[in-house]
Subunit: 334 residues, 2 copies
Amino acid sequence: MRIPYDEVINQLKMTLTAHGCCEEKAGLVAATMADNSLAGVYTHGINRFKRLIANIDSGVIDVNAQAEKTGGLGGYEVYEGKRGLGIWNAVLATKRVLELAKIHGIGCVALRNTNHWLRGGTYTGMIADAGMAGIAFTNTKNNTVAWGTMSGCIGNNPISMAVPGPRGCPNVAVDMAMSQFAWGKLELAKLEGRQLPMEGGHDLDGNPTRDPDKIMESKRIMPTGMWKGSSMSILLDLVAACVSGGNTVHQLSGLGDEQALSQVFLAINYRALNNAGEIEESIQDTLENLLTQTPAKDGMAVRYPGQSSGTVKADNLAHGIPVDERVWEEILAL
Amino acid sequence: MRIPYDEVINQLKMTLTAHGCCEEKAGLVAATMADNSLAGVYTHGINRFKRLIANIDSGVIDVNAQAEKTGGLGGYEVYEGKRGLGIWNAVLATKRVLELAKIHGIGCVALRNTNHWLRGGTYTGMIADAGMAGIAFTNTKNNTVAWGTMSGCIGNNPISMAVPGPRGCPNVAVDMAMSQFAWGKLELAKLEGRQLPMEGGHDLDGNPTRDPDKIMESKRIMPTGMWKGSSMSILLDLVAACVSGGNTVHQLSGLGDEQALSQVFLAINYRALNNAGEIEESIQDTLENLLTQTPAKDGMAVRYPGQSSGTVKADNLAHGIPVDERVWEEILAL
């Protein structure tokens, strides 16, 4: 079924308010989650709303918490997230990092003890929309196999990067977990009764499998690029913990459902020091070169990362956001 | 054969001087390349020396160039690398980014029109040695297949990250290209007459292959994690170009042998705002948890990224650096 964008926002906002959120927070969180689904990132939009509410009800998320600055030096600031709403904290961090980058050329805001931000691309997208280059990463609960072990003891720790698209095109953007398949992609495949397009993890007996159910059961998700994603995951975790003074994956994984995360937001005000027009032209040339390569399969279009978000958004705005009927019924019952 | 560390440095330095480098630059470049081999990164040490000299002789690298600051705002500075020695420029950028991070909490130095830095880990290692978190990335010539095409039109654009190891342990560090196998790994496998441990690219006919020769011929190296590494490569390229005001992969690939690269160096002075002792302890706990997991194969040890560099270094210092005899003879003849 497809639900109009406005109806989605209203429903999510109403539910959030009923579960203790103030108007302002409920509005921002509802709009952000609706926007994620609107942009086609269904795994990190409406599909996760039930879990968000469960986390609010169980006290994992404190809807009344306000993040507090614990220190600052030049362009770098650290905030205690007080286990508040992840989206709320991350938007606050992003707005602040843009202010810092305006003054200091580069800004870095780190959040500790915060909660799931849903989609890193939301925040790097805000940075790119402001004409800067954005990088953001978070740690997660342990959910990915460390290379050289059979143990899912590392996080999938997504990183997102974005730069403004040239001449009104959508931002060039990546938002990727260090597992070959994000947890949300496993959930979506399970929901749709699909196998994964390639082996994405091991079952409880140690056999590689495409079955999302078996991987979610074993929590043995393969790192992306094997040893590469595993190492990168460990570094993203430790850098996030160092820079925020917060938990590592290992530390927060002992706390129950995913919570008390460490996140880093970087904005680089590159137009302050370089020729913005020349850069826009060189991005345009570079993307054009990519888009005019021969596709690997006939009839398949080559796309730059982030390109399709615009068309999906337009379609979902016009025809409503595709939502699994069971998911929507569950939300109505919350 | 194994050559004593000092002998390697002296030989490389002498050769560099003979090809026009001043004493100071020759000394730094020789020591850095010897250190890369000493640390076990053979692909980006002595094995690449012949190519460096060829690039100097052909004018790709201008040994007399001095990088020049083109702009600065707070913690962010941009330098024109003037196609100077890549290692020299990158060390200069790293020293400067440490000064900036000391004052501004975070530092960002971008280099444009610079040359191959050999190993990103050299620079993030310097940052971690100074007690900060380091991130550095570079673009490269087009050498990796873009997802959705059969065309090697993107770079493998390595990124390196490092944080100080706890209590005197080696830094936790990653240095990875966005191809599943770095060009240097293909060269090493070819040199040693080995096939790759997994499919790493396509041959000229479009068939997946483990043969390094065929992949080097087609230049169709697979991105790490397929669509993930491909997207990440594109973003690392565009961010590097935006932040430095320099070339993208597409632009520099038209110039002949790899040259005129864009690079970014970030240092975060996290100890200025957080409790350094607590962070060290939490890194220690987290690594201990990783190292005590059951290995995937009997007799195989679990290691953290960067851990083995210490033991390899000690062994190579004691017994000399392993060098392929042909490679060493070629160097002696330069």
